[in-house]
Symmetry: C2
Subunit: 450 residues, 2 copies
């Protein structure tokens, strides 16, 4: 009998828990799901014969130690900053660990200690980070092993509302953390390498430089802006000398141009609070970011500030947000980002009847035996419903399969890892096909400059 | 006999210590100057009969308590974050305190406790903050008391190299904290009120909107960009309903336009580090912030990016910095701001033979008996030499006079204060005239819109 402890029963754990519950029937597993919200854990477990829900509070160290002590594998779906406390308990009780979150510096430092105890701490096992590593590394390893020379690697991902549910001019709805979308790109320049030249793009220019990306399914083409810091991926993916490496975030065409207006105005800022914000309308507030001179009407002033006509697509998108309107601001002492978010939560609401789609596109350009090739590997995965969203499935299923492989002793790696090694990514990518999570692959001779 | 404890003997304390040493001869004072660098404290004290230097380390709580216990007044010229520890000791030993730094939230919270112990904690007693409050409030109180109605208050300050020592196209040298100049305006929008409209200006637009300000002396006219958050001054100066209140930082004309290029590029960012920065030249590094397409030559690429000709004044200023040159970057793993600072430290070096000048200009527009007036109050104070700089004098002398008034029992206020009350600012402004720190005043009937 093996024991699995799952900490955190929130949205992102839904399909992970489901997968392990399903698998537990054919394995000799016992699953404990712990959450601070016991009802949530109970709901996820239901009346499953091999599982039980418990109240879990990370601040209760006794409870943590007792829970981890009994487990053969701990999966942490707690907020990311909590993983290190869980990891320390796993070290103390010689228990393997898995998480879908970014590897933290603290976790990295546990590598040697984990090896010494013959343990595997596997991080970044979700969608992005996770599935992006797996699907990219499969091709990178294959191209390298046959002797190809990678000239360019571009990797794009986006969590979008399904095209059939698009009904606003932004083509966007909040399928995931709304505030993260408002703050996207803040805090340090975007960084990548293109044609052997490092590129640093400050936040106020981030949304002005976009790539056009062909994607599978009804989207056709999407736009991508640079996703934070791509440079560490040169090392992570073993591509120290690759001339081009860019990771991008996908949006429906037109989104970036319109979002850039909000960036230029300064209304995505979350670092200061506006006293008496609730005593203003959105239009009064927006005027504070616009030139003193110009039309009386705020919408006309905005259009003149950005040099667009009132009936331009970008103004249509901004008008849709009612950001120039007489609507009262509801929050007191709020930051600009919070004031903006309140409108967006309504305008970009992911309705119960909507489904989401996760898009992932890798573009490889490589030379092989004197010929240049362009290979594309793409996924467009639609959510099943509001519980089993594309995000929950693409986070939970790779992590779930990873957990199963660990319990079955099929992964020999020890220490702290992310899924960039074949013994991890290969069986996971294979099994994901059963869940309709399979990448479309295509390759052609490439005539352009790499 | 009264005892004065001065903590911190750095640059900004020079003229403060000097003033109190001079005054101590005619008062029954004993002065102790404590610094972690004992030699520095000894140098400032010399062989003065009424003073001694001690080693001081804030981490040594016994030493702190013993030192404060003996004192009637403690002056803290330590780094700003240390004042609260000093203030707590002052509370414990019923000792008055004075500092030239911004009042901190922690210090503010000690107001009631200080009152209960009949103590005065006087903060913001330097140049800016300090002299700016004093000189502004003298006029604000006078205009209010005669029944005038203030329509606009603009307050500008700048620490510049003296015009006679200007010999670079920026008209600027580092007379004060260099990194603060590189980071100026970062971290939250600039905020002010103009014509009853709040204005929030994000960092990437800060240097594009400037006021032109007439100043005394050889400068003639300077440019001002908005200085951080002006809005709290509405409350601090008792101007809750003033239609216009702006605080600005003064620079030589042309500086802001050229500095804005560095902001637009993104090279003033201090939030991320560049691996292997020392393996690049400045030109190679700068190219990372410029468009991929365009001229081969970095300087031409920069000119084309900003839409200026190579011989334009703005390009002349940028060329002077050698930011497009083949000079190697000397720092490893440096932030953009650090890389830039290394050049600026050389290009904007405040030479031993240079003097600095502190400029302060207040513009008041007010109505009185049906007439509108514009009043200007201006100071241009030049440093005496490299020790007794304009900054050291305008920080140290207001604080020194304030300390003397406290010791003489001439300030009745108790609790935590800044110098916005007449019993503090009036005698200080009067005595400062003896040190050639006197404001030029002018007033005229104002015909424009306020």
């Amino acid at each position: 009998m093996q024991h699995i402890l799952i900490l955190g029963a929130g949205r992102s754990a839904t399909d992970f828990i489901q997968y392990l519950l399903d698998q537990s029937l054919s394995h000799d597993w016992e699953i404990v799901v712990g959450d601070y919200n016991l009802a949530l854990a109970q709901e996820k477990v239901g009346s499953h014969p091999k599982a039980k829900a418990i109240f879990f509070d990370l601040a209760d160290d006794d409870l943590l130690q007792r829970s981890v002590q009994d487990a053969d594998l701990v999966a942490s779906f707690l907020p990311a900053h909590m993983h290190k406390t869980v990891a320390k308990a796993c070290l103390a009780h010689s228990t393997h660990m898995i998480t879908a979150s970014y590897i933290s510096p603290e976790l990295k430092l546990m590598d040697e200690a984990a090896r010494e105890k013959d343990l595997l701490f596997l991080a970044e096992m979700g969608a992005d980070p996770g599935l992006d590593h797996m699907s990219a590394m499969q091709h990178i390893d294959e191209i390298k092993s046959k002797g190809g020379d990678l000239m360019s690697f571009k990797s794009y991902a986006g969590a979008l509302v399904s095209p059939s549910c698009e009904n606003n001019p932004w083509g966007y709805k909040f399928t995931w953390m709304p505030m993260n979308v408002v703050l996207a790109g803040q805090g340090g320049a975007a960084r990548y390498i293109r044609d052997q030249q490092f590129r640093y793009l400050p936040y106020h220019r981030l949304f002005t430089i976009t790539d056009t990306v062909k994607v599978p399914g009804a989207y056709g083409e999407l736009e991508a802006y640079a996703n934070r810091d791509s440079l560490p991926y040169c090392e992570r993916y073993g591509l120290a000398d690759v001339p081009t490496l860019i990771r991008g975030t996908l949006r429906v065409p037109g989104y970036c141009e319109a979002w850039n207006v909000l960036v230029q105005l300064g209304v995505t800022d979350n670092t200061y609070r506006i006293a008496d914000s609730h005593k203003n309308t959105y239009g009064q507030w927006l005027r504070s970011y616009l030139p003193a001179k110009g039309p009386e009407n705020v919408e006309e002033l905005l259009a003149s500030f950005i040099g667009e006509s009132l009936d331009s697509p970008v103004m249509e998108r901004l008008r849709y947000l009612e950001i120039c309107s007489d609507r009262p601001i509801m929050r007191e002492n709020a930051t600009p980002a919070e004031i903006l978010l309140d409108l967006l939560m309504e305008k970009w609401k992911f309705a119960d009847s909507d489904t989401d789609t996760l898009i992932m596109v890798h573009e490889f350009i490589y030379t092989y035996k004197g010929q240049t090739y362009k290979r594309t590997s793409s996924l467009a995965s639609e959510g099943l419903d509001h519980q089993h969203t594309a995000i929950s499935r693409t986070v939970g299923l790779p992590a779930g399969i990873g957990a199963r492989l660990m319990l079955e002793g099929k992964i020999k790696a020890r220490g702290v890892h992310i899924p960039v090694i074949p013994e991890i990514y290969a069986p996971i990518l294979e099994e994901l096909k059963q869940f309709s999570l399979d990448f479309e692959e295509s390759e052609e001779i490439y005539e352009g400059t790499p």
